[in-house]
Amino acid sequence: MHGAAHTATEVILGLSPLVVALTVFVLTYAVIVTERINRAIVALLGAGVMILTGVLHQNEAFAGIDFNTIGLLTGMMVIVAITQKSGVFQYVAVKAAKLVKADPWGLMVMLALVTALFSALLDNVTTVLLIAPVALLITDALRINPYPFLFAIIFASNIGGTATLIGDPPNIMIGSAVGLTFNQFVVNLAPVALVVLALTMLPLWWFWGRKLSADQDARDQVMAFDERQAITDVRLLKQALAVTALTITGFVFAHSLGLEPATVAMFGAALLLLLRAAGHDAEHQSEQVHKSFAEVEWVTIFFFVGLFVVVAGVEKAGALKIAADALVQFTGGELAFTAYVILWSSAIISAVVDNIPFVATMIPVIQNLGPVVGAENLNTLWWSLALGACLGGNGSLVGASANLVVAGFAERAGAPIRFLPFMLAAFPLMLAGIAVSSLYIGWRYL
């Protein structure tokens, strides 16, 4: 039906492909920013227009979709959807609260640590979706204001997500596009993420932590929580923990085995689905598999698909080469200056807009810089992009989906987080994290 060799650009009405591609790109991003239409619809429409106007051939559009990112995200979402039903997240959160004898400041530190750890190994949205309700329950029992705790959870989720390849979508995209491994992410980003988390807790202690106190009877009530009761299904718990451990081990060795992370995640998901299905009849199996798949965030997945095609369109039209040249002009192609510009601008942009489309666009731009800064130095720029885009998400309530999830839950529970007061505290705190990252980049790579 289609000619595979058809690559010559024949854009409608004889218009310049660059103009058409840029128009589609700018319109797509502008409508995404307004949030008037669901972002997956906008991205898919933009992708369709890129093909219909002739900027991209359908085959090129397919080639532009990074199925490694799609597969990794989908696989992890299936694993998490099944694992969360075991109650393990409530167990860990309650256990952590009791370890510090339900002391409010200790609780804040523990919730931040637990959130950061889970966010590093799973996706941030799921983590906060499960931790925030327990945090609210515990602060309710302690009769203290939940706001500082929700604030700490938001920060910890974005900082924890920075630490690993699978922690945050920007890292998944960068790792997949550039071929950076799970271990490289851990070695290069986890140390600085830990430092940023520790330093973030200092102002939280000064603002809130040192003033928080709970009555002894309220603390006794929390100490009477029985975390073992939170485990609803022991068999499921064992299966889920075994598969999660196996999957993460798979990520560690994926590179030496010549495997992509998507293969590991999808295999893990299939294995867990098999364990759940074993011994049940066909009807029950299909119902269970259907339920697990239904919990995948398809809006995010299709958003990625559409964006990849839109970005492939502007890339083919040469717009991203021009952007890269402009960046080189601005920085003079000097490695250190380029790294800092990428770090700080990604942070500020990611604080106010979705970091996924931003990173999708920046990846080809930075790939174009190889000849200028030297291919061996490109990794410095990737770490700068990852740190900026992930940590920048803390700058405002709309900076990351996890922030919006916490805010949405808090609103429903009658403890709303307001946009401006949050930003007034969060934006400077985020910038402090970026300053620490600058020192780290300078010390380690420049």
């Binding site: 167990y91 609210l136 009769r143 009530q221 429903r412």
Partner: protein, 154 residues
């Protein structure tokens, strides 16, 4: 045939919307009912407060809302928390705990739709006239009694 033909239970037990949750609870216990319609001074219906709505308000917010903690077994009885929530809710106006699942039906609502609405809630439904004034309460038993009578005389 509409709700108008049914012998609804006349509104003998109502509270003004500004009555406190405490008063509503006492009245429910005393009169052994689970639902009290709230009526303004001119007889207009301002919603129904239910024992269910009060009970929900006593739960921790994290269990009450969508996406919250589904299973509270691990919390234990948490009696101090329940009593604390009870104290905090006692002084609130009853109108703040209107049960959103109890929606009024109008006198000109067809019987089929009334049956449909009743089947979706365990509460009796308030019946209002075209000006929004409370006419009475419609229970499932009243509707079933009417239908049974119809089938026997038909």
């Amino acid at each position: 045939m509409t709700v108008r033909v049914l012998p609804v239970c006349p509104p003998t037990l109502t509270l003004p919307p500004e009555a406190t949750v405490d008063q509503a609870m006492s009245l429910m216990i005393q009169r052994q009912v689970n639902h009290i319609p709230l009526c303004t001074a001119d007889g207009r219906l301002a919603g129904v407060i239910s024992s269910n709505a009060i009970l929900r308000a006593l739960l921790p917010a994290s269990a009450r809302v969508e996406g919250g903690v589904g299973d509270l077994n691990f919390v234990g009885d948490a009696l101090p928390m329940l009593l604390d929530h009870l104290r905090r809710n006692a002084g609130r106006p009853a109108s703040e705990l209107v049960d959103a699942s109890v929606q009024a039906v109008r006198q000109d609502t067809p019987l089929l739709e009334a049956a449909n609405r009743l089947s979706h809630t365990s509460a009796p439904l308030p019946v209002v006239d075209e000006r929004g004034h409370l006419v009475g309460m419609l229970s499932r038993r009243i509707l079933l009694t009417h239908l049974l009578h119809k089938s026997q005389t038909a």
